[in-house]
Amino acid sequence: MSSSFHVAHHFSDAEQQRESAKLGMWVFLLTEILLFGGVFVAYAVFRVWYPDMFYNAHKALDVTMGTVNTAVLIVSSLTVALGIREIQLGRQKQCTRYLLATIVLACVFLVIKYFEYAHKIHLGQLPGKFYTFDGIAGTNPHVFFSIYFLLTGIHAFHILIGISLLTWVMIKNMKGHFSAQYFTPVEITGLYWHLVDLIWIFLFPLLYLIG
């Protein structure tokens, strides 16, 4: 997209281009939902098979860190939504500030995640063959940690993608590529970030708060 208002040659007007980009993004979000869905199915199958082991194993997770992480993600979701609102009103500087806040919050999330992982690696609560911890009652507790590391690992990977997308959009915004007429990339990145938050909203109770 050379200049910010240029409409790509095969679209008839800017409106059609914006709606197409949004529909394309929503369809892509479906694939993300089903990618995570696969591991949720594994979670459901093994929780039905080993319910008490899941209950005992979930105690090994630190609920306070999980809650803080959820709050961090929700606030980052809020800031990216406000960022989009700012650019819709054409205020580029405020939008950049909000995007920056989102990136910082995302990094905070990853740092907290790093502490949780380091703690588990130290204790030996790892998936599959690497599981050497023996404080959890129940059969095959390593299955819980396989699913835990799969879900949170893929989610963290998506957070990294989110951070790079947000940084790319922030840089372009600072260069003045976006305005009230054309802010599609910001909106697209916002949708992606909200989905990452959406998945964590389901992931948090499933892993940290097993009744």
Partner: protein
């Protein structure tokens, strides 16, 4: 053009903060609720799981409707999101139809031969 919106709808500021606040409150609620054991109170099995899921769904719909602008966009986007979730539900429910009902005709068919993983039968793990 087909199904295109004419103006870009700008959601008022207070809605964003209201939704943000509601999400934080709901997070606190869901953590608080998790300490209460509903199953013993109401006797309904996996009640805690149901409560946690209801709260998570409310939070998710809030994010989807206001942060992702589904409320002010064409209904087709909501349809795509719902079709994705429905497809995932089909996958989960029908797979559980299998894994959950395995022992129904022969109880022997349902039980694994070695309930604990071989990883824990230490005596012959070393020389396998």
């Amino acid at each position: 053009m087909s199904e295109n919106q004419h103006t870009t709808h700008i959601t008022p500021l207070w809605i964003y903060f209201a939704v943000g606040g509601a999400l934080l409150v709901l997070t606190a609620v869901t953590v608080g609720v998790s300490f209460i054991d509903f199953t013993s109170i109401f006797g309904v099995s996996s009640m805690n799981f149901a409560v946690a899921m209801i709260i998570a769904t409310i939070k998710a719909t809030l994010v989807a409707l206001f942060f992702m602008h589904l409320y002010s966009d064409s209904k087709f986007y909501s349809l795509t999101l719902l079709s994705g979730i429905a497809c995932l539900m089909i996958f989960i429910v029908i797979t559980l139809l299998d894994t959950n009902f395995r022992g129904k005709i022969y109880e022997i068919e349902g039980q694994p031969i070695e309930p604990a993983a071989k990883i824990y039968q230490s005596e012959n793990v070393s020389d396998q």
